[in-house]
């Protein structure tokens, strides 16, 4: 299975490529390159339509390719890419979520200045150039190729068979996100600050990942996860390299999921980034990052878990509790959802720490449930406006249920899903991770989990109270009517949230069948 082990080979061997297995990634990267060409050569008037078309076609084609990839499972590219059940499940999830994200990003609201993205990312905020760009009706279309590159990295991330490929995937998915975060049309300085913060902290965490990889290389003599796993069984006396190596790699990966104590960027970046990008990051990045953690932990270093699982327990508990508690004090809806996403990362970790196939399938189900609800929620946030710009302060949401019952009702439903109320996907997902935890010796985590859920529920309930039981403050806040793109994104998100609450069996079945890693 592993083509070449460590050590120097004198002869150059041409690596075999299983194109069926890597086809989704090739399609997405191809679409991204096409997007760059469109950006360079297409006339401005046709660029938007062309970019949206290329991105959507690329993503849907890749999704179909994932379906075909079921027959092409295996390790390819000399073990650098492993396409197995979890990888395919996660790639399919990322692609489906990306379709919704691109739909949300494609929303332009047919008006000047209400676009979520700045007219011209390169111009200084408040400058003459910016004003001119706005007057000219320019819209930012480079977001689509950037998103496609990020999606490509995300597809590779959970399928990486060695730490080096994983690192490359991490960088490929991160760099476009740093740029995307800085493109908000509203409060541009805040957006650019978010971008810079994300970049610096992201770079910092990447070095942790690299240092950890180096230590593991020193320990096992290879970057390959399979070889590392093999070394753990046979190697003794080098734990001084192993445990720090594992923990440092985990720091790099946990940073992307926003687990405490590596969460400090999440609220700032989620608040500053353009709202559709926030939804994309919150959903897709998390899916990819949890996929990578699953692979690193379950394929690579699970046998040494007694040495580092306690630290991961502490991280999970801190993530659930702090995420939920800090969400209580937030006054900005995007920051609030950011802290809620931190708490959810903790719930996912609870399932991961079961160290069992059940835990893997619970995590797989959870990220699907959370991803769809999240993209829909952020898409709704971007629709609620006060005088053209997004109304993200909670007080502005007061009485929304009276004036806009459908939008408020949809949002309330999504909040109930986040809160884990039965008959929504959130409950099924929570039940899956908690029962995995209880079944495999992590009952304490489940107890902390339900208590954090109760705290988090208060947060969601508070927003419902605001929307339904409070009187509107003034009448400047209104919901602008979305085009077919956002409508579609929200409808699909809500529908999935409902279906996974009422009839989750098919997806649970798929997750259970996909939960086996190829070692």
């Amino acid at each position: 299975m592993i083509a070449s082990l460590s050590g120097l080979t004198t002869e150059f061997v041409v690596t075999k490529i299983n194109y069926g297995a890597v086809l989704p990634m090739l399609i997405v990267f191809g679409a991204a390159m096409t997007g760059v060409l469109v950006e360079a050569f297409a006339p401005r008037a046709t660029r938007y339509a062309a970019q949206v078309g290329v991105a959507l076609v690329g993503l849907v084609a890749a999704l179909a390719a994932v379906g075909l990839g079921v027959g092409h499972q295996g390790s390819t590219l000399a073990g650098a890419v492993v396409v197995d059940g979890p990888a395919l499940f996660l790639q399919g999830t990322i692609l489906a979520l990306s379709v919704l994200s691109v739909l949300a990003m494609a929303e332009r609201y047919d008006g000047v200045g209400v676009d979520a993205f700045t007219a011209q990312g390169g111009s200084v905020p408040g400058s003459v150039q910016e004003a001119a760009a706005v007057r000219a009706g320019v819209t930012t279309t480079e977001v689509f190729p950037l998103t496609m590159f990020a999606v490509g990295g995300m597809l590779l991330f959970p399928a990486a068979g060695d730490l080096l490929t994983m690192f490359v995937a991490l960088e490929v998915l991160s760099l476009p996100l740093y740029i995307l975060s800085g493109l908000a049309s509203r409060r541009r300085l805040l957006s650019q600050e978010a971008s810079l913060k994300y970049f610096l902290l992201g770079a910092f965490s990447s070095t942790f990942f690299l240092f950890g990889s180096a230590l593991l290389y020193g320990y096992s003599g290879s970057m390959d996860l399979g070889v590392i796993a093999h070394a753990i069984g046979t190697q003794s006396g080098m734990d001084g390299l192993l445990v720090p190596g594992v923990l440092l790699v985990l720091v790099g990966l946990l940073f992307k999921t926003g687990a405490v104590p590596f969460h400090s960027w999440i609220p700032d970046v989620y608040q500053g980034a353009p709202t559709p990008v926030t939804g994309f990051m919150a959903a897709c990045t998390k899916v990819a990052a949890f996929g990578a953690i699953l692979r690193f932990v379950y394929v690579g270093v699970a046998d040494s878990r007694w040495d580092w699982a306690p630290e991961l327990w502490a991280v999970a508990i801190a993530t659930m509790v702090l995420g939920a508690v800090l969400a209580v004090t937030q006054t900005d809806i995007k920051r609030l959802l950011a802290y809620s996403s931190i708490a959810h990362a903790g719930f996912v970790l609870t399932g991961l720490l079961a160290f069992d196939k059940v835990g893997v399938s619970a995590v797989l189900f959870y990220v699907v449930a959370y991803g769809f609800a999240t993209i829909a929620a952020f898409a709704i946030v971007s629709m609620v406006r006060d005088g053209g710009s997004e109304a993200t302060h909670l007080t502005q949401w007061a009485g929304l249920g009276k004036n806009h019952p459908v939008v408020a009702g949809t949002f309330a439903f999504l909040l109930l899903a986040f809160g884990g109320i039965p008959l929504t996907s959130g409950f099924t997902a929570k039940f899956a991770v908690f029962s995995a935890a209880v079944g495999h010796g992590a009952t304490v985590l489940a107890v902390v989990g339900v208590l954090s859920s109760a705290i988090a529920a208060f947060v969601y309930v508070r927003i419902i109270v605001l929307m339904y039981f409070s009187e509107p403050v003034g009448d400047s806040v209104r919901v602008i009517s979305p085009s077919v793109f956002t409508t579609l994104a929200v409808s699909i998100g809500v529908l999935v949230t409902l279906v996974l609450g009422v009839a989750p069996a098919p997806l649970l079945d798929l997750a259970a069948r996909s939960a086996l890693f190829l070692r």
Partner: protein, 494 residues
Amino acid sequence: MSDFPWLTTIGLIPAAGALVVAFLPASLADKARHIALGFSVVALFQFSERHPWIEQFGVSYAVGVDGIALVLIVMAAVLVPVCVLAAWRDVPEVGKRQQAYFALMLVLETFMIGVFSATDVFLFYVFFEAMLIPVYFLIGSYGGPRRQYAAVKFLLYSLLGGLVMLVAVIALYQHGPGGADGFLIEKLTALQLDQTAGRLMFAGFFFAFAVKAPMWPVHTWLPDAATEARPATAVLLVGVLDKVGTYGMIRFCLQMFPEASKWAAPAIIVLAVTSVLYGGLLAIGQTDIMRLIAYTSVSHFGFIVLGIFAMTSVGTAGSALYMVNHGFTTAALFLVAAMLVRRRGSKRIPDFGGWQRVTPVLAGVFLISGLSALALPGLNSFVSEFLVLVGTFQRYRIAAVLATGGIILAALYILLTYQKMMTGPKPEAAAGTADLSHREKWVVAPLIAAFIVLGLFPKPALDVINPAVARTLYYVGVTDPAPTDPGTAEGAVK
């Protein structure tokens, strides 16, 4: 006929009604209440059915009723139409808001029937939690001035209890036989549980049910919720919803954790007696009539829990009957008090006085409801309260004696309130107030009929309840203590 999913159909009738009412075309919007009333009148049959739902979790959609569940479902099915009728003018303006109000009530009815008929622990939990949402909106959107506070407090208490129970639900499945239908109650009874695990799981379930019931010291959400909610909502909340707590104690705590139940019984008896006396004392001190009724319920729930954990056939059967009786009695108290409050425009007891001279029929109805609450012989509550006390006396004599004090307190809070509100000189402010309208008579008539029927002929209801109680106690593995004084126990069995 036996293959037809009767129970599901019955459960879904209100849900279908809710959809119809909520999405009624504008031309028919003024008929929303009539349609809601029509859908809320449902018939009942005893059947059970089972389909796989989420096999990966071991969850089935399994419903069925035994005696205890049956009487509770009948009670719910009687109370919902009464409440719809009582709530006729709660949201006077025809339109979406009114439609939503009645639709929520019907959704709630579906969930209530579901929760009492679920024979799968997971399904029970789903209904248990889902029920909160319509109540939350009923209180929060349509309640009184402090409705936001009351609604959030209600939801958070219940959610916390439910989430603690969730861990116990998961753990119970892990200790059970597992498999694709491992959540069925029948598969989870009579398990050989590890002592510590059994007690911890029992505690998880009991906490949720104690919050819901509500028992002292986790009762504090009830007075706020019941006062701020519309009277019809308060009836459904206290009369039906809270019964899920005591129902759960019989169905889950006793049946699935017999060892832990016996172990915890003395402590729970203490809590129950405290609830009886504490609720009664606080009721006497209230000046708000709605709050007073809420506290009487705390006291009555104390009696119900007392009978359940006495674990004698008489006491537990008495508790099951008490649940039904309390539903009707509290409904009458809340609704009649609401009629008074609407006429006077105040909830404060001192604002009344001499009203039996203005509205004699209303005063009479209020008195009958009150007498039912204080367990006057001949009315419904007497039978159940007597059975509970006798059953308790067989095992816990001191507790039974102390709880009898609750009856004296009941006489005080009911009769003193009647005296303050109804007797005295004819009030000037109330001159010309109308007595009961036709609609209001239709609201109270079924309730008073229930008082009398259940007071004079409790045997049919007890015949339905007794086999279920006997089966539960068989699982617990207790037999009634031999009566030391034959005169006490013999007469009460039937």
